[in-house]
């Protein structure tokens, strides 16, 4: 959803609020780093609203890393390798 609306500052701002709230509720109890996701949305939405500079590109590298790590954890859980 973040990639789909990478040019929509309103949706990205909403997603930043949403994911940072999840991060505060879960703190360290989640496989997913919600703070990083919130930071990705925050960095992109704010820069889209700044007229004087080119917007900061969406940090797809970090998004991919978060996705890959989550998949790995799920797979490991399926194999009984982790108790997360």
């Amino acid at each position: 959803m973040i990639r789909k609306y990478a040019d929509n500052s309103d949706i990205l701002e909403y997603l930043e609020s949403f994911t940072s709230s999840i991060a505060r509720v879960l703190e360290n109890a989640s496989t997913v780093n919600w703070d990083d996701i919130a930071g990705i949305c925050d960095q992109r939405y704010y820069s889209l609203n700044q007229k004087q500079n080119e917007p900061v590109p969406l940090n797809t590298y970090l998004l991919d890393s978060i996705y890959t790590e989550s998949v790995n954890v799920i797979e490991d859980q399926g194999k009984g390798k982790t108790d997360r």
Partner: protein, 365 residues
């Protein structure tokens, strides 16, 4: 010394126990005074009864003495008066017979005897009357003491009852006070034990902080008063030398990573900036001081493994967020030449509210 919930609870318990002890003491004090008062009253009533009894007993003894003294004499006087009366009667009879015989001299003699016997008899009667009156007077005096003794006895009975009632209240009050005092002593001991423990822990924490400060190389004069916090990345932040408190205005700030390596150093009153970062050939994370002077962040997040990349579209890979427990949120992009895109968000108000993006009053970014 930081607050300790258990110490606070024990202090509250001690205060309550103290109040209960004081209350029990007040009750005991009143009961003691009342018991003392009634005991004095009983003592006085007892003395009064004793005196009344002594008076009654004395009058009785006197009555008995008069009776025993006068009784035999009265009996004797009765006999003597009887004899004198008989003599008088015989004498007057003889005088009458002599008069009948026309023996004037004999009649006159017998008449004189008769008068003498009569006078003698009257004398006995008078004395007997006096003696009987003495006995009567002694008896009346004795009777007169009886009401006073009866009243004194009643007074003593009432005083003893009051004293017994006061004693019945005093003794349980003594027990209750003893029990309340024991409970107070117990809570005091528990509080003191906990206080010692908390003080020892506080000293240890202080020693631990001092040890961390020493390890980071904080200047000697600040080592006994540092603020230490760990962020979500496992980095240890050490604040010192601020005005009023270690992290007050103008504070110094060191950061130590998990391995104990100091990656950031800003001395007291030094300016902020990239020059404070310790040089590293590895990809570095940016360690920051708080974006506010009056608050430390609840957490800091940063992502991007490279401090600055010239090869991308001109943006920076390093984005930092600090969030605070009062709902404020600040984010910016960091470069070695400074910060950009600094923006504050007040999460307490919704999007569209005029204060949503207004920085807090103590913002330093």
């Amino acid at each position: 010394m930081a607050r300790d919930a258990e110490l606070d609870r024990l202090k509250t318990a001690q205060d309550l126990a103290f109040q209960r002890k004081q209350d029990a003491y007040q009750v005991l004090d009143r009961a003691s005074k009342q018991r003392s008062k009634t005991r004095d009253a009983q003592s006085r009533a007892h003395g009064e009864k004793q005196r009344a009894y002594a008076a009654q007993n004395s009058s009785w003894q006197d009555y008995q003495r008069v009776r025993s003294n006068n009784g035999p004499r009265i009996d004797s006087l009765n006999t003597q008066q009887e004899r004198a009366y008989e003599n008088m009667k015989r004498a007057f009879d003889s005088a009458s017979s002599a008069h009948d015989r026309r023996d004037g001299a004999a009649a006159s003699s017998y008449a004189a005897q008769g008068h003498a016997s009569k006078a003698e008899s009257q004398g006995y009667v008078a004395e007997r009357r006096r003696l009987v009156q003495e006995i009567r007077d002694a008896r009346e005096r004795h009777e007169a003491t009886k009401p006073a003794f009866a009243r004194a006895k009643e007074g003593f009975t009432a005083a003893k009852l009051a004293s017994d009632q006061a004693k019945a209240k005093h003794e349980p009050a003594q027990e209750k006070f003893k029990s309340a005092k024991a409970a107070f002593d117990k809570t005091t001991a528990a509080f003191r034990t906990r206080l010692e423990k908390v003080r020892a822990e506080s000293t240890k924490r202080k020693d631990d902080k001092r040890s961390v400060a020493e390890k980071a190389g904080v200047p000697l004069q600040y080592r006994d008063n540092v603020w230490v916090s760990k962020d979500s990345n496992g980095n240890t932040n050490i604040y010192f030398g601020g005005i009023g408190k270690p992290n007050g205005p103008g504070h110094g700030h060191y950061v130590m990573d998990r391995s104990g390596k100091v990656t950031y150093k800003r001395e007291v009153h030094d300016a902020h900036g990239a020059q404070n970062f310790e040089k590293s050939t590895d990809a570095a994370l940016l360690y920051t001081r708080s974006a506010r002077s009056g608050h430390l962040p609840s957490g800091t997040n940063n992502h991007g493994g490279v401090f600055y990349r010239r090869s991308d579209s001109g943006g920076t890979a390093l984005h930092i967020t600090q969030y605070f427990d009062d709902g404020y949120h600040v984010s910016w992009d960091a470069t070695p030449t400074g910060n950009s895109n600094v923006h504050w968000t007040n999460k307490n108000v919704s999007k569209g509210h005029p204060d949503r993006y207004v920085p807090p009053s103590d913002a330093v970014l």
